[in-house]
C-alpha cells in the first residue's frame, strides 16, 4: 500500500510544492474545503474575535425559516459520551431579519456564505427561498430536510423519498443560488435518498445531519430533553457518518459535503478521501473554536507532504479488489 501510494505522489525533488486546496461545488468556489456547520457557528460574527473568519472556506449559517421561530422549551442539550444531544427547535430570526441584520457582515468575508433553509411545508421552504433570493452575497443554499427536532417538516421530508423529491424539486425551482440538500442519516438506505435528491435537481448534498437519540435521568425517570428525543452529534457519530458519505459518493455525481463528528485534520481527510468535496465542522466549534482553521492548515500540510492537490485527494479511497460496486450491499 505504501509503495503504491508513493508512486502516485509527485516526485520529492519538486521542492516547495504548493498544494491547491481550493474546492468547487456546483460552480461555487471555496478557498479551502472547510466550512462551519449550521447551528454551530451562529451567523459568523459570534466568532469574529476568536479567529480570522476570512481564512475559512465557508460559513453555513443557523437554519433560517420564512418567519422567526421560537424553538423548543429547555432543557435543550445534554452531553453524552463523545457526543451531545440537542433539541433546539430551530430558534431563528427569520429570513427578513437575516437579510437585514446578519448578511451584510457575512458578505464582507472571504469565507463563502451558505444559508441553511428550513420549513414546515413545501410552501414554507419556497417562501423562505423567495425572500432570501433578494440577498446579495449568498453563495449557496443548504436545504435542511433532516432536522429531527421539529414536529412537522424537517426530518419528515428527509425520511420519505417522495416528499424529498417534492420539496427538492420545488426548492430548486425557487432557488436563485445553487442548492445543496442536507440529508438525514435516520434512513435505511442513504444511497437511495442521495439519488432521489439528485434526480429532483439538487446541485449538491450535505451529509449527515444528527442521529435521533435519547437520554434519561434515572433519578426522576424523565427524559433529559424537553423534546424527549434529540439529535446526536460529535465524534460518537463519525464512523457512521463517514460510511454514509462513502456510500452516497458512489451513488451520485453531484458534489458532497461531508459532516459528522469531525474534530481533527485526520477526521476531515477521511471524509475527503471517502469522496466528500468539502467538510463541515459542527459540534467541535462549541468546545474548541480553533478546530476549523487548524484543519485548514492540517489539510494543506498533508497535501504538501503527500505532494497532492486537494482535487487528487477527493474520492481517492483505495478499495480492496472485488469490493461490491454498490456499497449499500454489505
Amino acid at each position: 500500500m505504501t509503495t503504491k501510494a508513493k508512486s502516485e505522489e509527485r516526485p520529492a525533488h519538486a521542492t516547495k510544492f504548493e498544494p491547491k486546496i481550493e474546492t468547487e461545488l456546483a460552480g461555487v468556489r471555496f478557498q479551502n474545503p472547510v466550512l462551519t456547520a449550521s447551528g454551530t457557528f451562529g451567523y459568523g460574527k459570534e466568532f469574529a474575535h476568536l479567529m480570522d473568519l476570512n481564512k475559512l472556506g465557508g460559513i453555513v449559517v443557523k437554519g433560517i425559516s420564512a418567519e422567526p421561530m421560537e424553538g423548543n422549551p429547555p432543557p435543550r442539550i445534554y452531553e453524552t459520551d463523545s457526543g451531545m444531544l440537542n433539541a433546539i427547535g430551530l430558534q431563528n430570526v427569520g429570513a427578513k431579519r437575516f437579510l437585514k441584520e446578519k448578511l451584510p457582515f457575512l458578505r464582507t468575508l472571504r469565507a463563502r456564505c451558505v444559508v441553511n433553509v428550513f420549513g414546515y411545508s413545501t410552501e414554507d421552504y419556497v417562501r423562505c427561498l423567495e425572500t432570501l433570493n433578494a440577498g446579495e452575497g449568498i453563495a449557496a443554499y443548504e436545504l435542511n430536510i433532516s432536522c429531527p427536532n421539529t414536529r412537522c417538516g424537517g426530518m419528515v421530508y428527509g425520511n420519505d423519498p417522495k416528499l424529498t423529491e417534492e420539496v427538492v424539486a420545488a426548492a430548486k425551482k425557487a432557488a436563485r443560488f445553487p442548492l445543496f440538500v442536507k440529508l438525514s442519516p435516520n434512513v435505511t438506505d442513504i444511497a437511495l435518498m442521495a439519488r432521489v435528491a439528485e434526480a429532483a435537481g439538487a446541485d449538491g448534498l450535505t451529509l449527515v445531519n444528527t442521529f435521533v437519540g435519547m437520554a434519561i435521568d434515572i433519578e426522576t425517570r424523565t427524559p433529559r430533553l424537553s423534546n424527549v428525543t434529540g439529535g446526536l452529534s460529535g465524534p460518537a457519530i463519525k464512523p457512521v457518518a463517514l460510511r454514509m458519505v462513502y456510500q452516497a459518493a458512489r451513488a451520485v455525481k453531484i458534489p458532497i459535503i461531508g459532516i459528522g463528528g469531525i474534530q481533527s485534520t485526520e477526521d476531515a481527510l477521511e471524509f475527503l478521501i471517502a469522496g466528500a468535496r468539502a467538510v463541515e465542522i459542527g459540534t467541535a466549534n462549541f468546545y474548541d473554536p480553533g478546530t476549523s482553521l487548524r484543519i485548514v492548515e492540517g489539510v494543506r500540510k498533508y497535501c504538501q507532504r503527500k505532494q497532492l492537490h486537494l482535487s487528487d485527494l477527493i474520492g481517492s479511497l483505495r478499495l480492496p479488489e472485488g469490493t461490491a460496486s454498490h456499497p449499500t450491499e454489505y
Binding site: F47, P68, P75, E79, R221, T222
Partner: protein, 288 residues
C-alpha cells in the same frame, strides 16, 4: 474574550465536595467583570467534550514572592465549584501545573451601569445565595463594598459543609444570615424563610436583591422580592454547549414572543432582572 490554554496554580479541596480552582491568565483576569463566567475545558478527554460554565469567584494578583512585573494587575482567576457530575469530578482531579482550556470573560454579569440607580435608591443590598450560587456573588459584593454600599448576605445550603466561602464575605458585609436544611448551622430550613422574615420586619426600607442558586430557590426569592416590592437581579444557571451564544442550548423563557421568547443564559445572561424571566417551568414534567 480569549480562548487559551492556561495553567492550574491551585485546586484546593473545601468541605462538602467543594473545591477552589485557581488558574493563571494575565490576559483574561483583568478583563473579568462581576457576575461574568468562564467556560472551562478538560483537555485530553475524548468522552467529555463540552466545556463547563463556571462563575468567576474571585480574581487575585500574581503569586507573591515571585519576581514578577511591577504592576499588581490581576493574574489569577478563581472558581468555586462543587463536584456534581462527570465534568466537575474531572476538574477536582486537576493538580497545580495541569492545563485547562479557558474561554473568558463571558456573559452579561452584575454590571453597575445597570443596577447603580437602583442600588442608590436602596438602603441595603441583599445578596441571597443557595449552595454553590454563592460563587457568583463575591465579585459584585466586592465592587459594592468599594462603592460604599451596605450589604447583607443570606446564604443557605443542605448542610454546614455547603456554606463555603463565608469568610471571604465577612469583611464586605454588615451581617450574614445562614440557613441549612438539616439545621447543622444557622436557621433550620430554606434560606428564603429568614429572608422573608427580614423583608417583613423592614417594610419601610428599600432593598436591591442579588440572587444566585438553584431554580426553586431563585423562584422563591423572586416571589418575595415581588411581594415586598424590591428590585431583584438573578444570576441564572443552565447547561451550556458553547458559552458563545451560538448553540442556543442554554436558553430560558423570558417575556417576549417569537424568537425573542427565549434568551441565552450565556449571552443575554447569566444576570437578568427577575421580572424579565418567566419562572413557570415548561417541558419537563413534574415528578412526584
Amino acid at each position: 474574550m480569549y480562548d487559551e490554554i492556561v495553567a492550574v496554580t491551585e485546586n484546593r479541596p473545601l468541605t462538602g465536595g467543594h473545591f477552589l480552582l485557581s488558574v493563571r491568565s494575565p490576559r483574561q483576569a483583568p478583563a473579568i467583570r462581576p457576575g461574568q463566567f468562564a467556560m472551562i475545558r478538560i483537555l485530553g478527554r475524548s468522552d467529555v467534550l463540552l466545556r463547563r460554565p463556571m462563575s468567576v469567584y474571585d480574581i487575585k494578583a500574581g503569586q507573591e514572592g515571585r519576581q514578577k512585573r511591577a504592576s499588581n494587575s490581576p493574574e489569577i482567576i478563581q472558581f468555586l465549584y462543587k463536584v456534581v457530575g462527570r465534568g466537575t469530578r474531572l476538574m477536582s482531579e486537576l493538580k497545580p501545573g495541569d492545563r485547562v482550556g479557558l474561554l473568558a470573560p463571558l456573559g452579561h454579569g452584575f454590571f453597575e451601569e445597570e443596577y447603580l440607580p437602583r442600588a442608590h435608591e436602596a438602603d441595603e443590598i441583599l445578596h441571597v445565595a443557595g449552595g454553590i450560587g454563592i460563587a457568583a456573588l463575591l465579585l459584585p459584593a466586592k465592587r459594592l463594598k468599594e462603592a460604599g454600599f451596605h450589604q447583607r448576605l443570606f446564604f443557605g445550603g443542605r448542610t454546614k459543609d455547603d456554606l463555603v466561602g463565608v469568610a471571604d464575605f465577612r469583611p464586605l458585609i454588615r451581617a450574614m444570615l445562614l440557613a441549612t436544611e438539616n439545621g447543622s448551622m444557622g436557621y433550620r430550613g430554606f434560606v428564603t424563610r429568614p429572608l422573608e422574615d427580614y423583608l417583613r420586619k423592614h417594610t419601610e426600607k428599600r432593598f436591591l436583591l442579588m440572587v444566585c442558586g438553584p431554580w426553586g430557590m431563585l423562584e422563591a426569592s423572586v416571589a418575595l422580592a415581588r411581594r415586598f416590592g424590591h428590585p431583584c437581579l438573578v444570576s441564572m444557571e443552565n447547561r451550556m454547549g458553547c458559552g458563545l451564544g451560538v448553540c442556543l442550548g442554554c436558553c430560558i423563557r423570558v417575556e417576549g414572543t417569537g424568537h425573542e421568547a427565549y434568551q441565552r443564559v450565556c449571552t443575554e445572561g447569566p444576570v437578568f432582572w427577575a421580572d424579565k424571566v418567566i419562572w413557570q417551568k415548561e417541558g419537563i414534567p413534574k415528578t412526584k
